[in-house]
C-alpha cells in the first residue's frame, strides 16, 4: 500500500471538495429557471384546484391567467380573486410536524369555503401527509371562515361550520393546520368581512 502524507490527504480532500462545489453550483444555477417554472406552475395548479379546475402542469399558467386575479402580491397579505372578484382565495402558511405546510382556501362572497387545497414538504406518509389528499381537502367545502377560524378536531360535528375532522395519527400535523387557519383568519378577517359587504 502506498504511503500518503497527511499534507497530501488534506490537500486532496480540500481540492476534491472545491471541484465538487464548483460543479454543483454551476448545475444548480443553470437548472434553476426550469425548476422555478415547475414550482410556479405547481402553485398555479394548486390555486386552480381550489375553484374546481383540474389543470395539467402545462395548461395551468394559461388557465390561471384567465381565471385568477392576483391582489397585493408584493405585500405581507397577498390574496387572489376569482369569479370576477366575487370570490377570494387566501394563502395559508404554517408548520407541520417535520417541516412547512401550506395551502389555499377559496371563499365565496359570504365567507363560505368553496374549495381548499393543502401541501406539505415532508409530513409522515399515510399520517400527516394525508392533508395533501383530495379526501382531506373536501372536508372543508361548505365550512365558514366568516366569524371564527375553522379548526380541526376529533369527531367533528358535520353541521358545525367551523369544525373539520382531524387526521387520526396525524395530530401534530392537524394542530399545525389549525394554527395555520387561525393565523390566516387573524390576518385576513378584515379582508373577508370587507369582501362580504361588497
Amino acid at each position: 500500500m502506498k504511503n500518503f502524507s497527511n499534507k497530501y490527504m488534506l490537500i486532496y480532500a480540500l481540492a476534491l471538495a472545491a471541484v465538487v462545489a464548483v460543479v454543483l453550483t454551476i448545475v444548480a444555477t443553470s437548472l434553476k429557471p426550469r425548476q422555478d417554472r415547475n414550482r410556479d406552475a405547481e402553485t398555479k395548479q394548486m390555486i386552480l384546484k381550489t375553484i374546481g379546475i383540474n389543470a395539467s402542469r402545462d395548461d395551468a399558467p394559461e388557465l390561471y391567467a384567465r381565471n385568477i386575479t392576483e391582489c397585493n402580491l408584493n405585500t405581507s397579505l397577498p390574496y387572489f380573486t376569482f369569479d370576477n372578484g366575487n370570490g377570494i382565495i387566501i394563502p395559508l402558511k404554517g408548520n407541520g410536524l417535520w417541516g412547512p405546510i401550506w395551502g389555499y382556501l377559496a371563499l365565496d362572497c359570504s365567507g363560505n369555503v368553496v374549495g381548499a387545497v393543502f401541501g406539505h414538504e415532508g409530513e409522515t406518509p399515510g399520517l400527516g401527509a394525508e392533508i395533501a389528499t383530495d379526501n382531506f381537502a373536501k372536508r372543508f367545502i361548505g365550512k365558514e371562515m366568516a366569524e371564527h377560524p375553522i379548526y380541526l378536531t376529533k369527531n367533528a360535528d358535520k353541521d358545525n361550520p367551523y369544525q373539520v375532522d382531524a387526521i387520526s395519527g396525524g395530530t401534530m400535523t392537524s394542530n399545525g393546520v389549525t394554527a395555520m387557519l387561525e393565523k390566516a383568519y387573524n390576518d385576513y378577517s378584515s379582508l373577508i368581512t370587507n369582501h362580504q359587504s361588497l
Binding site: M1, K2, F4, Y8, M9, Y12, A13, L16, A17, V20, V23, L24, V27, A28, L31, R34, Q35, N38, R39, E42, R57, G122
Partner: protein, 206 residues
C-alpha cells in the same frame, strides 16, 4: 473476467438484489408504480456507473485512509446532480420519489461496487460493472413496478389496462395488498426462488 461477463453477471449470478440482497429498502419503497420504478432504476444506474468510473480513474491517487470519505463525496455530488436534473425535467416523478433520490447515497450497491470493484479495476471495466449492477438492480425494480401497478391499480404507466379489458365489469377488483411494501418483499422472494431453482450454483451446500 471478460468484459461481457462483467456487464452480464449482475443480471444473474451476482444480481445486487436477488443474490447480494443489497438495495432492498429502495426497491420496496419506489415500486408501487412503474414510472417511478423506471426513473429510480435509471437514476441508480447513472450514479453507480459514473461513480465507479470516477473512483476508478482516481483510484491510484486516493489515500486509503480517507477513501470512504472520497467515495461518499463523489457519490453525493452525483446524486445531487441527478436530483437537480429530475426536478428540472420530470418534476412530478421527482416529487413522487421525494427522499428516495437523496437516499441513493446510502444505497449499499453504490458503495459496495466502489469498494469491491472500482478501487481495484480499470476505468472501462468499472464503468461496465457499474452499468451492469445498476441495470441488474433496475430490472428487478421494473419487474416489481410492473406487477404491483398492474395488480394493485389495474394500470400500467398510468394507462388503465384492466378497465380497457373490461375486467371490472366481470367482477374483478384491484388487490390493495400489492401496493403495500410487504408485497414487494414477497415478490422479491418469489423472484429469488425462481432464480435459484433455475441456477443451482446459487444454492448453498448444507
Amino acid at each position: 473476467m471478460k468484459k461481457i461477463d462483467i456487464i452480464k453477471s449482475p443480471f444473474n449470478k451476482s444480481n445486487p438484489i436477488t443474490v447480494q440482497v443489497l438495495g432492498i429498502c429502495s426497491c420496496l419503497a419506489v415500486t408501487a408504480q412503474l414510472k417511478p420504478a423506471v426513473v429510480m432504476a435509471i437514476s441508480v444506474t447513472v450514479v453507480v456507473a459514473l461513480s465507479n468510473l470516477i473512483i476508478s480513474l482516481l483510484r491510484n491517487t486516493i489515500p486509503p485512509r480517507i477513501r470512504i470519505i472520497v467515495q461518499l463525496v463523489v457519490v453525493s455530488a452525483l446524486v445531487i446532480l441527478v436530483n437537480q436534473v429530475l426536478m428540472a425535467f420530470v418534476y412530478d416523478v421527482s416529487k413522487q420519489l421525494s427522499v428516495y433520490v437523496g437516499l441513493i447515497i446510502t444505497n449499499c450497491i453504490v458503495m459496495g461496487r466502489l469498494e469491491a470493484f472500482a478501487m481495484s479495476n480499470k476505468p472501462l471495466d468499472s464503468l461496465l460493472d457499474g452499468l451492469g449492477n445498476g441495470l441488474g438492480y433496475g430490472i428487478i425494480l421494473v419487474i416489481l413496478g410492473f406487477v404491483r401497478e398492474l395488480f394493485g391499480n389495474g394500470t400500467l404507466w398510468g394507462y388503465p389496462v384492466f378497465e380497457k379489458l373490461g375486467l371490472y365489469n366481470i367482477g374483478y377488483e384491484n388487490n390493495g395488498f400489492v401496493i403495500m411494501a410487504p408485497m414487494a418483499l414477497i415478490l422479491v422472494g418469489i423472484i429469488i426462488w425462481i432464480q435459484r431453482s433455475r441456477n443451482k450454483d446459487l444454492c448453498e451446500k448444507c
